[in-house]
Symmetry: C3
């Protein structure tokens, strides 16, 4: 069941490849890092990976420029206060107004670990499916045009279908 | 092994239905929302869902009125400081002393998303099994009478039995 | 596939025993508690358990004394600011500079729940496999000599292999 590494022939042996489903609820840099590390590791070893971004997890999919933004007062507040893109995420501990996150990014670079944006790029190259939660986008008033690199906009039902066929299911 | 749950016609196809097991450790409104969204989505599509509430997750099962309360000093502190029921939970980010949680609830209502209490009600109607962790209740001195809508009081062993038969296992 | 409960003949039927894989990302006492409670419960009921400690989860594996420490400025900061060992972890809510964590430990002791260190000891006795994430150790400049009770130092690929064979996979 786990013998295939054929990244290219995605459709052909979809049935026989091990699946991994990850819900990315968190908008923290360190947790996002863990999620993409697992996702790319799994995809590189031939597994079929789906990441379902919901709630704060939507933040890291946002474009950093040229956004359309929200219309209501609360939507504008979300737009103003929430980070846009992988380079702006806080860390879950010792963030210290962003200083901790900056230091962590620096330390990772010093240790030759690629940045979160690099991991996200790698995930796309390896065929990881990026799904954005449509309900979260509606609540936070994030239009599709404000996100980048999303393969599918869907609800929880779509995720559950993938997850029920997955060997590994995680909530990050 | 899991055939005794006859809420409706649950017994008939218990063996053949996909199972989902969710540990709700968090007491944050946004995470609870995600957990119940997944749980109700899964139950609505015919899966058999068990939610195991432990630690801060116990808070959302509490009655809002008529509580008996704890006896020891620390138990009284937990009773005083921890939120009671779904409408009182903080959010995990930007809670700002409850203002953030209130704004989030308001935005969800504006977007016609039902409140957490509605999702919890729906979960019960759909036959989601609500289990409260007995060890957490003991540590936090929460008597059974203070909780509402619980199907079973159990320890981690009971959860593991369900989880080992589940297609989807999540820690929220 | 799930019919064996033979704790003793660990090697003999390794293939047929249910597996549990837990990623311990969090460095919070309460979450660590939940993770070890699940791990020991599963191991006690005959399952094969692997815990993969990454990021802040590394903290609880640290020796409390005789550490070699890090070399770079940031490494020294991590060394200085992050807790060492299970007795020093904060709790995820109401930590209040450590007061909350201390009160929680006290309450658990009053309720005859063993401390986290006891659960960790029990996990080792029950044969739970403790894996430390080598990338996290590199980034945080934690040398192997500073950790205690680790069975294996490995990357995400090793975890994925175990997880793909597991009935229960959790991210804590």
């Amino acid at each position: 069941m786990a013998e295939s590494d054929s990244r290219d022939s995605k459709t052909a042996d979809a049935e026989s490849r091990d699946k991994v489903s990850i819900i990315v609820f968190s908008g923290d840099m360190d947790k996002a890092f863990a999620a993409f590390n697992i996702a790319t590791g799994a995809a590189a070893s031939g597994m079929e990976v789906t990441m379902f971004f919901t709630f704060w997890g939507i933040n890291m999919l946002k474009k950093t420029t040229g956004r359309r933004g929200a219309s209501s007062f609360l939507g504008k507040m979300f737009d103003l206060l929430l980070p846009k893109g992988p380079a702006k995420l806080p860390i879950s501990k010792m963030n210290m107004g962003g200083v901790g996150a900056a230091l962590m990014r620096r330390q990772m670079a010093a240790k030759k670990v690629q940045p979160l944006s690099g991991f996200m790029e790698l995930a796309r190259e390896l065929g990881v499916k990026i799904v954005a939660c449509s309900m979260s986008m509606d609540v936070m008033e994030v239009p599709k045009e404000d996100l980048v690199g999303v393969d599918e906009f869907a609800g929880v039902a779509a995720f559950l279908k993938e997850a029920a066929e997955s060997k590994i299911t995680l909530f990050v």
